[in-house]
Amino acid sequence: MSVNFHAIKAIYRFEMARTWRTPLQSVLSPVISTSLYFVVFGAAIGSHMQAIDGVPYGAFIVPGLIMLSLLTQSIANASFAIYFPKFVGTIFELLSAPIAWWEAVFAYVAAAATKSVVLGLLILATAFLFVPLKIAHPVWMLLFLILTATTFSLFGFIIGVWADGFEKLQAIPLLVITPLTFLGGSFYSIDMLPPFWRAVTLVNPVVYLISGFRWSFNGTADVGIAVSLAMTLVFLAACIAVIAWIFKTGYRLKN
């Protein structure tokens, strides 16, 4: 089997170039908004909060905040990357190129995930300026970062293919992802919830992502680390399956 490496490289470069053309929107604005969270929740309110599992509140929210940006940015990057060519019509070139669907997806998702991981690390670096932080399992931390960025870039790719207007493009991140992230324990431990709401929360897939990620920082988690990892991989596999179906049927890409 041959692989069109030149095409993968071309798409990856093209997508990365797009990011550096808009550094304000791509990099600076997520860093600034995260800093604001630290100022408000970490410094101002956090000083009146109890430590959770022995971790000061300011440090406790860092993994959740990084996840919040990681999810929204991965989806935004990947969905826009495929939606925009559809919208302006330049997708004809991709469809007529000698490239397999998985090569195209790989290139787009790799670029979107790269951006998200870089962003996550930037936010992490910013966090060190505001709160005392220690990372218990740095390798696992990186693994969760990369896995989550990849999974949600795939998810974003699906949204970008599915959306036939800018409103749909924004709807899922705004109406689904943001609430799930906020309610997924970004700012609190789900152990703090009454038993009923705690049970409801466990339906939220984002809980497992944040919990696993937080474990890599603090060594403590709301749910088992194995469960977190398994849930992330299940979601990853589901996204790959949907994308394979999209290209097999030509759904919304080819008549």
Partner: protein, 308 residues
């Protein structure tokens, strides 16, 4: 020699139920310029889109340089360049970046010398560092052509290349197309301008309502064009063409009231003088005469009407 594109039994019915192509069989010869002529909505763009991999065929097969466009799509597509009808370009990229991108996308290693050559050929070299959105419409079309040529395709599709294009660019484009043909590139262009087909093509195919209704060498079409008809209104109808006039290939029409002589205006002798003399000797008198010429336009309109 094996045709560079072999289309057999190709049809396309869209999900909406609209049948854009009925059954198309067509061979494109290696190295020719083929003009696909037809009114809007005839199926020209659908046909091209299927060959290039943008639209899925309902039935039938297409071979590009011997490679099946679906089973062996990598080999097929890497040989094909497409210039779409619409001006669909990126906005923020530079000309250089977008043309280099296309080369990579089609699986070719970086080669600045070739990208430079393509840009120079299209008078885009001065604009290489400009963002595409700052270019005029004509320049954008040149960029699209440059993108399609960046991977050195053997087959180039030009979908309505001169729609909304000024005279200067049209001349440039025709020059470029001829130069590409001289380099061995096969060119298929769609158009609804007959002059364009006449000016450019080696062969002309006419498509209407999803069917190819005529494929002919342009020279053959032009020969038909070069023919004129002389129609004589006779004072007395004839039952048959007199034997003395048999060498002229005359035909009777309007129940013997009209005598038609077909001649080639480009021939050394049209034979009109001799015919007149022989008619007078045969005692055939006429009250009126007219001449008429069929243009490619007439042939085209006639075909479409017959197909309607």
């Amino acid at each position: 020699m094996q045709p560079i594109i072999q289309i057999s039994g190709l049809s396309k019915t869209y999900a909406s139920g609209f049948q854009a192509l009925k059954t198309v069989d067509l061979d494109i010869k290696r190295g020719e310029i083929f003009a696909l002529l037809g009114p809007n909505g005839a199926g020209k763009t659908t046909l091209i889109s299927i060959i290039c991999g943008i639209v899925r065929p309902s039935t039938g097969t297409v071979l590009a340089d011997g490679h099946d466009i679906i089973r062996d799509y990598r080999a097929a597509r890497s040989r094909i360049g497409l210039v779409p009808q619409e001006l669909t370009t990126d906005a923020f990229e530079t000309v250089w970046a977008t043309v280099s991108f296309s080369r990579g996308l089609f699986g070719k290693p970086k080669n600045p010398a070739i990208v430079e050559q393509v840009l120079r050929d299209l008078s885009l070299w001065e604009k290489r560092d400009s963002k595409i959105m700052t270019l005029s419409g004509g320049m954008k079309r040149r960029v699209l052509i440059a993108k399609a040529l960046a991977h050195e395709p053997q087959i180039l599709f030009l979908d309505e290349p001169t729609a909304g294009v000024d005279v200067e660019l049209r001349q440039d484009m025709w020059k470029l197309v001829r130069r590409l043909r001289d380099d061995g590139v096969t060119i298929i262009l769609t158009t609804h301008y007959i002059e364009e087909a006449e000016e450019m093509a080696d062969r002309v195919g006419v498509i209407s309502k999803g069917e190819i209704i005529l494929v002919e060498d342009k020279a053959e079409l032009m020969r038909k064009l070069g023919q004129k008809q002389l129609t004589l209104h006779l004072q007395a109808p004839l039952a048959a063409v007199p034997a003395a006039l048999s060498r002229y290939g005359l035909a009777l029409q309007a129940e013997g009231a009209e005598l038609v002589y077909t001649y080639d205006t480009k021939a050394e002798r049209t034979g009109i003088t001799a015919l007149m003399k022989d008619l007078a000797e045969a005692g055939i008198r006429f009250s009126d005469l007219r001449t008429s010429q069929s243009s490619l336009e007439d042939i085209f309109v006639g075909l479409l009407r017959a197909n309607a």
